[in-house]
Amino acid sequence: MPNNKLTVVETSPAGKTAKIIFEQPDRDVLLIILDGTWTVGAPLPLADEVEKQMAASRAVRRIQFKTDGISNWDSALLTFLIKVADGCSKNDIAFEKDGLPEGVARLIALATAVPERKGARKDTVREPFLSRVGSAAIRWRHSIDETLAFIGEAAIAFIKFLTGRASFRRQDLSLFIQQCGADALPIVTLISLLVGLILAFVGAVQLMMFGAQLYVANLVGISMVRVMGAVMAGIVMAGRTGAAFAAQLGTMQVNEEIDALKTMGISPMEFLVLPRMLALVLMMPLLCIYADLMGVLGGLIVGVGMLDIGLIQYVHQTRAALNLSFFLIGIIQAGIFGVLVALAGCLRGMQCGRSASAVGQATTTAVVTSIVAIIVATGIITVVCNMLGI
């Protein structure tokens, strides 16, 4: 039935909107006449209409186009035509591009020039529960291996440093010492002073019931010097310096700077990790002593200012309460925290993936790891000291 108008699919009555007219000039030819505006966001007919038309007349073997009526087109027309072309190739129907606007025909050729690479598309297969548990356990094992390997490498780098064979830049070390030491003083001052104040307040309320306000000095002094000074300094450094180490090393990983070091035969462990660890391990005990002082000062402010304890009396009471082993416990703890924070920060930085979000993740896990490590270590040290009766 030549030139027989079959169907008109229109999306809206207005003259400029997109519409399809189907004609069958020959038994085996389907002529698709496209008309109107074919742009993204405009109302468009669906490619299904063509499929329906193809299904309706089984005899159709070729599809032709007439597009003189198209006033405007963009990607919307292309997506429509590519879907039609897909339908054609599925049903073994020839898709004849001659009638299409020149640019459209070329773009379709371009879009279909590179076939989809086999296996490129990712399948989202949902793993069964047990296999997920299993792979999580295996990953956990691997991460322990990695951590142990990292600690081992760090230890080797430290031994090399002791024998004077480690290669790193001295000015890096002094820069990190400044960053972990002097630059951290303001925040350590604030935090320890407040912790001292808080301890004194909370203690005073209880001790006043027995008229034993004076023992606020013992309470603040012992808790700051033995534990809280080191813990507070450790947590501040985890948030401040540990995070900075992870972010620095992570960004270097993204920029291939660490690869560049490796290929030049410079060990990133010695060049990057070692100075950071040394700086933090050296500075943490000093920060701890400073935090102890600030905490005691906070207690003193409450004691003298609010509990009517004399200045000299408070100082005497504090000195009587403390002995050298308390100080040593605190300082050794701080040194251990320094190692833990530096290890966690550098480890997460070196493990970092190669993207911006990976750097963020490395920083987060560095802080979480170091704070968990600090708390667990404090627990263990306290129990051990208790057993030894120190």
Binding site: V40, S75, P101, G103, R121
Partner: protein, 262 residues
């Protein structure tokens, strides 16, 4: 009859100006990068911004796409003075511009499909499956069919460039800016990218502005250009690069275009 569509509105003469740069001076503080730049980019041009390293090519592009305000001078898009326009008018202009950054600048926490879909979701009210169709089309156009769910870090540098191009084309822009499109690509990939740019320009009729010092690309696809010089701190030549090669009497331009051999 030439088909009038979205990109070539009506029957325009070939030399309709699209972007005009007038007396532009670019500076950081008191350090002047380039001064007195005046040139016109016509519709459907492939316009090359060329010059040696560090002469301010990329800086010029950053001025043109609204990232840095000029110290002096104007940039016109059609008849609109870009830097004196209202903020929302500026947004409208920039939305019609697609940009391929030097290193692709794909958002690393998003898959390729999400990268391309973001502008569509922001600026159109298309349904999710329509957005997906457009994303599939753009990826197919740059030869990355099926890579929808990959993260930028999982594909090669050349593929990242092409994915960046797909993202630049997401909104069917009237103007495409390319910053060093072939930098870091092997010659064959660079050639394919050039062909792709040419093909897209031919089919879509977009205006293309390319910052490059890749001679092969300059001669193969450019039909107009401006040559910036770092010492003179201004443009020392403009026009069709092939004509410049044949006719320019300026020794600097000639040396650049012949790789210092002429």
């Amino acid at each position: 009859m030439r088909l009038a569509h979205n990109f070539i509105i009506g029957q325009m003469p070939e030399t309709q100006p699209h972007i005009i740069v007038k007396d532009l001076t670019m500076a950081f503080g008191t350090f002047v990068v380039q001064r007195d730049l005046t040139f016109t980019i016509n519709r459907s041009d492939i316009f090359i911004i060329m010059g040696g390293s560090g002469c301010g090519k990329s800086t010029l592009m950053r001025h043109m796409i609204g990232l840095i305000a000029p110290v002096k001078g104007q940039i016109f898009y059609d008849d609109v003075n870009f830097w004196e326009a209202e903020p929302d008018q500026r947004d409208r202009i920039i939305r019609k511009v697609g940009i391929l950054y030097q290193s692709g600048a794909l958002w690393s926490s998003m898959t390729l499909a999400e990268n391309i879909a973001l502008p569509l979701q922001q600026y159109t009210d298309l349904k999710p499956d329509q957005v997906r169709e457009l994303v599939t089309l753009k990826l197919a156009l740059v030869g990355l069919a099926g890579f929808d769910d990959y993260y930028p870090s999982e594909i090669s540098g050349g593929m990242q460039k092409r994915a960046g191009l797909a993202r630049a084309m997401a909104m069917d822009p009237e103007i495409l800016f390319f910053d060093e499109p072939s930098a870091g690509l092997d010659p064959i990939s660079a050639r394919l990218l050039d062909d792709l740019i040419l093909e897209l320009r031919e089919s879509l009729g977009s205006t293309v502005v390319i910052v490059t010092h890749e001679l092969a690309s300059i001669f193969a696809i450019g039909n107009n250009s401006v040559f910036l010089d770092a010492d003179a701190k201004t443009m020392i030549a403009q026009g069709d690069p092939n004509k410049l090669l044949a006719e320019s009497t300026n020794p600097l331009v000639h040396k650049f275009l012949t790789r210092g051999e002429g």
